[in-house]
Amino acid sequence: MKTTTKTVLALLVTAILSASGMRAQEIERIGIPELEKILSASDDRLYVVNFWATWCAPCVKELPHFEKISAEYEPEKVKFILISLDFPSQIDKQLIPFLKKNKITLPVSVMTNLDYNEWIDKVDSSWQGNIPATLLFNNAAGRRLFIPDEVEETELRKAITELL
């Protein structure tokens, strides 16, 4: 009985929070193993992984395109992931307030491994580490496109359409 009450309460709280749009943005802190897991996802859907940071002006500029276009697809078909390269010391002070202020709803992971040289090549061997950068892939279908540059809305939509 006690457990049931707790469950009901928990569900209620979740429902209320979701309904009011107050659900806190969930931020996942990731390292190289988690990054590799994302990059090697083998389910048959298109992944759109954007590398960005709040301190990167062109990244911030293109972020709304990802939010807008993501709303046009089911997550089962196209999965968007924002990988923030904000410094771990800036997560609470800078990143979380930014996500709230800009009403970012896409899942955000923060790469906490700052030994960049250890993982940049895992994303794409042509990448020099400049951000923004976007990787689109469907490993199951063998499709992949890496854009180490800022993308316009039409360009991003076109890339997704063509890779689907």
Binding site: W55, L114, D121, N130, I131, P132, F146, E162
Partner: protein
């Protein structure tokens, strides 16, 4: 079929972009340049008769990663300029895209921070293109050999942008120290997250 063609075309395009922007790597011969410093003087590497080489660093005023490394680059210059490897910082950012990176702003930054190294303005972006620089900060360590400038190391200053004390791989300092001992650097290239160079809008 359409998708297949698209992939081929994108692949070709990416290769072309990469080809047009191929980057100097260790062993390549680097080009000298003539760029204006913050005092308005034209500077070339050929003027530095006593130098054994150079720490050419693509740099700017506005990038937060550059700011993180600001003191570290000054310290590196203080340590290595007298040993024959001065820092030569170059700002390639287009002032229309990044107004904070204009020549006037460079002058202010160099004065406020009391830069002891040359801070040059690559207004045409030709030098950044020739070197294949992609972001700031981006280091090219050069040594003089038989009148040529040989690329010895390309990449990051160290392995922790956020916290100098947590950096346990001092790529650049290690590479310069190797050259000072007459050895070739063990690590010849690294990659790091940085701000994309603000190219002119064509």
């Amino acid at each position: 079929m359409k998708k297949f063609l698209f992939l081929i075309v994108s692949g070709l395009m990416m290769t072309m972009i990469a080809g047009a922007q191929s980057q100097y790597k260790a062993g390549d011969v680097a080009a000298d340049f003539k760029l204006k410093n913050v005092k308005g003087e034209t500077i070339s590497l050929s003027q530095f008769n006593d130098a054994k080489g150079f720490i050419v660093t693509f740099w700017c005023n506005t990038c937060p990663v550059v700011k993180k490394y600001d003191q570290r680059l000054q310290d590196i210059n203080a340590e290595f300029a007298s040993k024959g490897y001065p820092v030569i910082a170059i700002n390639p950012n287009d002032k229309t895209v990044a107004p904070g990176d204009s020549f006037e702003e460079m002058q202010k930054v160099a004065k406020n921070k009391n830069y002891r190294f040359e801070y040059l303005y690559d207004e045409t972006q030709e030098t950044a293109r020739a070197y294949g620089a992609t972001n700031t900060p981006h280091v090219y360590l050069l040594s003089k050999k038989d009148g040529k400038l040989i690329v010895e190391y390309v990449g990051a200053i160290d392995n922790n942008a956020d916290d100098a004390t947590a950096a346990d791989k001092k790529y650049l300092a290690d590479a310069v120290n190797s050259l000072l001992k007459g050895e070739s650097p063990e690590v010849k290239g690294t990659k790091a997250i940085g701000c994309t160079i603000k190219w002119k809008k064509s």
